[in-house]
Each structure stands twice: as C-alpha cells, then as structure tokens.
Amino acid sequence: MRPVRPVRPVGSASAAVAGPVRRAVRFDGAAVRLGGRTIWSNVDLEVGPGEFVAVLGPNGVGKSTLIKAMLGIQPLSEGRVTVLGRPPGGSGKDIGYLPQRRNFDPNLRVRGIDIVRLGIDGDRWGLPFPGGASLFAGSRAARQRVDEVLELVGATSFARRPIGRVSGGEQQRLLIAQALVHNPKMLLLDEPLDSLDLPNQSAIAGLVSGLSDEYGITVLIVAHDVNPILSYLDRVVYVARGGTVSGPPEQVITSETLSALYETPIEVLRTSDGRMVVVGQPEAPAHHADRHTGHPR
C-alpha cells in the first residue's frame, strides 16, 4: 500500500470549489514550437496545491520545456499556462527552481552557503553590505534562514566548502536548499536525481516529499526513472510525443500505458508489500524500490 498521506488543508475538494485560481498549475491547450519543430502540443494539465507530481517521459520529449514554460522562460506558441493563479514568470519568489543537473566547475571558488544565499536576494540590485548581518535585522534574518534551510536539507556540514569540491549528492542538497530558501509555494525540480547514486536518490526523494508534506509545497519533479519517487507520488504526468497523460500513479503507471508511451515493452510489477516497480524503462536501473523500505514516513 502507498503510505497514508496527511490530509491537506487545500485539497482537491476545496480547489474544485474555488475554481481554477486555486490550481497550482494549469495548462490549457498549450503548445511549444521551437524552430519549426513541435515540442509538445495539446497539453492540458492541472496540478493541485500541495501535490507531489512527477513529470516523466523519454529523453528529448520536452519535460524541461514544460518546466521552463511554467517559469516563463519558454513562451508558449499556443494555449495558456497559469502558475499559482498568475501568468508564468509572474510568481517570482513563490517558485523554487532547480534546473537540470548543473555540475559546478571544480575550480569555482565560491562556497555552497553563498550559492544558497543567492536564493534569498540574488535578484536584488546592488551589493550586499559587508558585515550587514551584525547591523541590519533583514540581513540577520536572511542569514538565519540560510542556516535553517541548510540544517533542513542536511547540508550544514559541507556548506562552507567551495561548491565545486563537494560531491554530486551534496551539491544537489545545496541546490535544493537554494530553491527552498525563499519559502516558495512550489518547487520545480528538473532531474534532481539524475546522476546520483542510489542512496542519494532515495534520500533526496524522501527529503523533497517530506517538505511537500510538511509545508504544503507543490512539487513538480522531472525524472526519467520513476522508481525512486514512485511511493511518494500523488500524480504522474507522462509527456510523450502526442501530448501528455496525467493521473494518479495507479492509473497511469500500467504496463499498457507505459509501453505505449515509450514505444518499448515495459512491465509494472508489484512487490509483496504492494509497491510498484517499473521494469524495462529506458535508462532505468531496475531495482530501486527496496531502498524505500528504510524510510520512516
């Protein structure tokens, strides 16, 4: 069985009453064309507040473009998107964004904590005032917030090392801290588990899911391997060449749907304790599900 999730204050029922404004994300007949090529079209999608959603699909199908459309970085050629009730790009600090895997230059001599701090005020003009933390309450609060978030993601011990010198999993924690530090209502995570080892994949997935539960943050997570996050998901969005398919994992993650979407045979198995495992998915190592058993939830 999937673990029981706490009831959310703004669940699907109240969202239905309040209408589309209460949707965290809403795509209406959206399409993106780049250089004459249709990346995707006819995308209709709704994500409720506080949901934990996976965006899945084969490589090159436009998963990252979907995220960029929500951020307003990638304009739509057709249709409409609203994010947190506003047009894309209008939500600024309410969205925490983690772009597709960045490898920091090993010689970049900037500390992890500085990268996290940019999440608070990096978009503000001017220069930080040296020693501001001892003079200004705002600066002090920002520093406290950074420490708090570092603690939350378990990055305190390596946050003061140059970011190029910490491991991939550690960098990812710092980047999640950066995305979280300004108290976003929504997290858009583009392949946060990519090129992490298995313990780190499940640790990061658990961390993000916990944040979603605890603070009611809407999470959209782009992945090409569904297994590490499968047990946490409220909803799955599959992006494929035709368009998108979305729904609860039990409905969408079936052998038939996946095989059709990926155009390759895929099996969805159930383990003895009822959890699903996707086998045969391209680029996915098969046996991840056992990693979740250790998670107190």
Binding site: I73, R111, L118, G122, P130, Q178, G210
Partner: protein, 321 residues
C-alpha cells in the same frame, strides 16, 4: 623606451640605504605623483572588475578588449586625437562586437564566442600595427601602448581615469549581486527573472572601459597583470566572495604601488614589474592553497569515536526527520 632615472646620479644604489629620502624625492616629482594617482585608480577598478571577470571565465574576452585598446590608441594618435580617447573607443567598440555574439550557458555558444573574440583580436592588432606605421613607424611608438608607461600622465588624464573609474564602479555596485548570481548560477538566476543576457552585455562594456583604463598604465599586452592575477590569487586564498573581492582590490593596489616605485628606481618598463609582482603573488597564493589543501586532506586528528553522525551525513537523511 621610457627610462626613468633618479633625479641625481649621485644617489647611486641608495635605494635601500635611504628609502625615506628616495621616496621623498620621488613624490617631489609631479609626474610620479600623477603616476601613483592614476595607478591607484586603475588598480581599484581592475581589481573590482577583474574579480568578476575571473569568476565569469571571461579572461580571454578581457584580454582581447585590452589588446583592442592598442589600435584604438594608435589610431587616435595617428588622427591627432588624445590617446586616452582612443583607448576607450577601441575597447568599448570591441566590447559591443563581442556582446553581439549570442551567448548562452551551453558550451557551444562559449566556443562560438571565443572564435569571434580571437578573430576580433587578430584583426585589431593588425590595425594597430598599421596605425603605428602610418603615424611614424618607430619602435618607441609601440612599446608605450603595448608594454606600459607611467611617464607623462597629465592631470587631465588622471581626471579622465578617475571619472571613468567612478562610473564603472558605480555601475558595478548597482549590478553586483545579480551579476554574481547570473555568473555562478545562470539558470536559476534566469528562472528568477534576473536579466542574464543584459547583465552579460553590461559587464562586457564595463570590462571594455576597465581594459582601456588599465592599458594606459600596464600597456595593452600586460593588462592581465592587473585584471587577472590579483583576482585569481585572491580566489585561491579564500572562497568567501566578499573577502576575496576586497583582497583582490588590495592586491591590485599593492602590486601597482610597488611596481611604480620599482620602475622609478630602475630602467625597466612598469608593465614588467606589474606582471612580475602579480605573477609572484599568484604563485604564492596557489602554493599556499595547495599546501593548505594537502594539510586538510591528511587524516584528520579528530578522535575516531563515531558518536551521533552530523545531520549532513551523506545518505542517512530522511524526510521530515
């Protein structure tokens, strides 16, 4: 070649014996006072802008902007204009050209950029040589713009350098934080509506102004000494951005002051000293870092008792713990 001889030959090797007297004598000369004024202005700007340039990995662009100031200056002199105007015109024009090259965070655009920069640089140098030979074609006309001079810096030139410096530093202060954001983390900055591309263009223009300023002291070919070396050295010494920024400026000023003094008491061009001192500082900083990292890499002395692991243990963290 600019040759600075001490005022009286009778001083001989007295540099170490009577430093106070020598310094007094040096600052009694108006052109040396101006050299120090101009040098200080240039060092501060070079340090501040150079710090960002090194962080942005745009050293090649910076080098080219400096090299282009040479044909600018040579062309201006040939046309009977002030060399200062030429330095700025050349560098800023080149900055505009480089800024027009599409640049994105992907590696492809970078290589495109460096190809364009290389092309601009080669063409500019060729133009410079042409202008010099059109003007008169004697070697002394080239060594100043290429390798630096501190003689004959007029009051007016100091004022021009100062005004340009104030403008550059003011703009840099206004752009500082988002520029840093866009530099280390362009994707996220873009997601937060930081105008990454606009900042990149603005920074190139600042870099052009700075290269033009620095060229007037160190010469077009040795601009790196002030633009790169202090920043590179400071970034070796510390990973704290604010600290390394201030250390950069401090190093740039110190190197400039020392170099001007050394050049005054010797027969070699100031660009040589700036480069040599800058190089020394960089090597020392890199050595210090290598040494301290080796010390850290050694098995730490902490007691082997593995009590409660820190919260940052790589894999032990679970949600909502």
């Amino acid at each position: 070649m600019p040759i600075a001889t001490p005022g009286t030959p009778g001083d001989g090797p007295g540099v170490t014996m009577a430093v106070g007297i020598d310094l007094h004598q040096m600052f009694g000369l108006h052109f040396m006072v101006n050299a120090y004024r101009a040098g200080t202005i240039v060092a501060v700007v070079a340090g501040a802008v150079g710090w960002f340039m090194v962080l942005r990995r745009q050293s090649f662009a910076g080098h080219t902007l400096a090299v282009v100031s040479f044909p600018g200056a040579a062309g201006a002199v040939w046309l009977g204009l002030s060399a200062t105007v030429g330095y700025f015109a050349g560098s800023i024009a080149a900055a505009v050209v480089i800024a027009l090259v599409p640049r994105s965070s992907s590696g492809r655009a970078h290589s495109q950029e460096s190809a364009v920069i290389g092309t601009v640089q080669a063409f500019a140098l060729a133009c410079g040589v042409l202008f010099v030979s059109l003007y008169g074609g004697f070697l002394d006309g080239v060594t100043g713009p290429l390798f630096g001079t501190f003689l004959g810096i007029s009051d007016g030139q100091v004022v021009t350098l100062g005004a340009a410096a104030v403008v550059v530093l003011a703009v840099l202060a206004a752009l500082g934080r988002p520029l840093f954001f866009a530099t280390v983390d362009a994707d996220v900055a873009g997601g937060r509506r930081v105008p990454v591309r606009g900042l990149s263009v603005a920074f190139l223009l600042l870099l052009g102004c700075t290269a033009a300023e620095v060229s007037q002291i160190t010469g077009a070919l040795l601009v790196f000494a002030l633009l790169v070396m202090p920043a590179a050295a400071a970034q070796q010494l510390t990973a704290r951005p604010a600290v390394s920024f201030l250390v950069t400026i401090g190093l740039a000023v110190a190197v400039t002051w020392l170099s001007l003094g050394a050049a005054f008491f010797s027969v070699y061009p100031v660009g040589f000293y700036v480069s040599t001192f800058g190089f020394t500082v960089y090597v020392a900083a890199a050595g210090w870092r290598a040494l301290s990292e080796r010390m850290q890499a050694r098995p730490p002395r902490r007691s082997p008792a593995p009590s409660a692991p820190p919260s940052g243990a790589p894999s032990g963290l679970t949600a909502g713990a």
